[in-house]
């Protein structure tokens, strides 16, 4: 079966060119860049070049790039490292309720170490209000961390406004740009951020490699200590193949960004419109326009996300869901819940994220098979009762039903 991959927010395929750039560092160019002999020097040169590629892509200088094992490590370093460096001086951190767990969990960990934290709410489209940020700042605040673009619903935050607020208050500002880099323009200068996380496998690079941009003069305390790698800011023999791959990938992604963006937006809108037209009782999650070009997140009322995914998978279509069932916890996606979406609607959410290999025919296929799958599951669903208002059972308890579909209409 011809498979269709619509889970590019989870991870992207490695581009052919990226793979080819990596091969030498998995075969003959195997040196350790810390070695002074010829093997070491050829590795060092490749490391320097990759660092330059990453720096150039986001408007930074090479010394401002710290390579990490991925987006999660970058986030942890930004949050915990900054907190450790501020210990005994300042004690308050601000973040938002829709951050990735790689930000939220480190922030929670800080609470155990005696820091105080503010987790800002978002509106029903997943947006943080810059005024909330301003109001949350106290003289104790040393760090604000707000993501650039949300991984589940694709909402793009007003980073420039928030960074200006941070700057005026003399507070450091970190943004998790893991879903943004390579997909929408990212320039650390115009964004005005102090730290920015990125991850190679979200823009057609390999998994297990990422970077933290750290503005000159900002010094998070290292989490991984040991050798003098990364100017003592992150110890460990460098993941050479991964780093070289990420360097190649980011250069390629940024080079074709505008073209890809337009193309993805076109397919994204076709998919969203098509689903809404074909299937009753669906709801688009996230912001209608300030949204990643490749993100479609839709709740199909009365059905549960995992069942939907499994049915899609049986048709060769890979997607993901914000349902609790996928994670095994009782609560569905913290992002959807923070947006005020009722549990039962959140359970029916499906995320389809497009990529550079998505064809229009793939979208057509999804539009073809989805109505049948939803129908079949609804037929099987004890909460689905075809009345004028198809939402009878749920309406009784769900305050946000009217967001989904006006009841009793």
């Amino acid at each position: 079966m011809n498979r269709i991959y619509l889970d590019n927010a989870a991870t992207t395929p490695v581009r052919r060119e990226v793979f080819e750039a990596m091969v030498p560092y998995l075969t003959d160019k195997f040196g350790n860049p810390s070695s002074i002999h010829s093997y070491g020097r050829e590795a060092r040169a490749a490391l320097d070049r990759a660092r330059e590629q990453v720096a150039t892509a986001i408007g930074a200088t090479p010394e401002e790039i710290i390579f990490t094992a991925g987006g999660s490590e970058a986030d942890n370093l930004a949050i915990k490292g900054t907190a450790l460096s501020m210990r005994g001086r300042k004690s308050h951190v601000i973040t938002s309720a829709v951050e990735h767990h790689a930000v939220l969990h480190p922030v929670e960990a800080l609470e155990k170490l005696g820091f105080s934290t503010t987790v800002l709410p978002v509106d029903s489209e997943g947006m943080v209000d810059p005024d909330d940020v301003r109001r949350a700042i106290t003289p104790e605040t040393f760090l604000i961390s707000i993501m650039y673009a949300n991984n589940e619903v694709g909402t793009i935050q007003p980073i420039e406004e928030i960074s200006q607020i941070a700057r005026e208050a003399g507070v450091l500002f970190h943004t998790d740009a893991v879903q943004a880099v390579g997909h929408i323009p990212v320039d650390v200068g115009s964004l005005g951020v102090d730290m920015l996380s990125l991850s190679g496998h979200k823009f057609y690079g390999p998994k297990g490699v990422g970077a933290l941009y750290v503005r000159r003069g900002v010094r998070p305390t290292p989490l991984l200590e040991g050798g003098a790698q990364e100017r003592k800011r992150r110890a460990g023999t460098e993941n050479m193949a991964g780093i070289v791959g990420m360097g190649a990938a980011i250069e390629l992604a940024v080079g074709e960004l505008e073209e890809m963006l337009a193309c993805e937006e076109m397919l994204r809108d076709k998919l969203i419109r098509g689903l809404i037209q074909r299937i009753p009782d669906v709801k688009l999650n996230g912001h209608p326009t300030r949204r990643l070009p490749n993100n479609v997140n839709i709740s199909f009322l009365y059905v549960e996300g995992e069942s939907l995914l499994l049915n899609l998978d049986m048709q060769g279509i890979a997607a993901s869901s914000g349902s609790a069932c996928t994670s095994g916890s009782l609560a569905p996606s913290h992002v959807l819940i923070a947006m005020g979406i009722p549990h039962e609607v959140a359970h029916g959410s499906v995320r389809m994220t497009l990529g550079r290999y998505t064809q229009e025919a793939d979208i057509d296929k999804v539009l073809n098979v989805m109505p049948g799958i939803v129908d079949k599951l609804r037929e099987m669903s004890p909460v689905y009762v075809k009345t004028e208002c198809g939402i009878k059972d749920i309406c009784a308890q769900a305050h946000a039903c009217d967001v989904a579909q006006p009841c009793g209409e």
């Binding site: 095994g328 916890s329 549990h343 039962e344 099987m380 669903s381 059972d393």
Partner: protein, 145 residues
């Protein structure tokens, strides 16, 4: 993730639907947790002569519903009450640990339907006290890692 048997029951669920005039109806779970199972039974001479289910939930929820209904169909009520959530999971060659908690309630739904039947037909003497039927509302718990 899922065994072949789970996938078989998930993609070709047995006994889906409703019965015209069910003798007993049982429902467990709630939409907030993401799993609801409703089971309807027909009872003849203390035997489950027909059964249907409707389930809102993940793959495991649908598969366990299908399997549970298969396992109790044609059984006496007493036998059906002995079919546990755990037994259903085992009959499916097991479930992923995280699915044991909230998605493995199909046997409970059957038990609830039997209880409903017995309560509605309190005049029957099948030797079962409906009050003694405990409905496991949280599946078979795996120890937390």
């Amino acid at each position: 993730m899922y065994s072949e048997k789970v996938m078989d029951h998930f993609s070709h669920p047995r006994n889906v639907g409703e019965l015209p005039n069910p003798d007993g109806v049982g429902q467990v779970g709630n939409p907030v947790c993401g799993d609801i199972m409703r089971v309807e039974i027909k009872v003849d001479d203390g035997i489950i002569s027909d059964i249907r289910f409707k389930t809102f939930g993940c793959g495991a929820a649908i598969a366990t519903s299908s399997m549970a209904t298969e396992m109790v169909k044609g059984k006496t009520l007493v036998e059906a009450l002995e079919v546990s959530n755990k037994a259903v999971a085992e009959a499916l060659d097991g479930l992923p640990p995280q699915k044991m908690h909230c998605s493995n309630l199909a046997a409970s739904a059957v038990h609830a339907a039997i209880k409903d039947y017995l309560e509605k037909h309190g005049d029957l003497d099948l030797g079962i006290d409906p009050a003694s039927i405990r409905i496991e509302e949280h599946g078979h718990d795996e120890p937390e890692e």
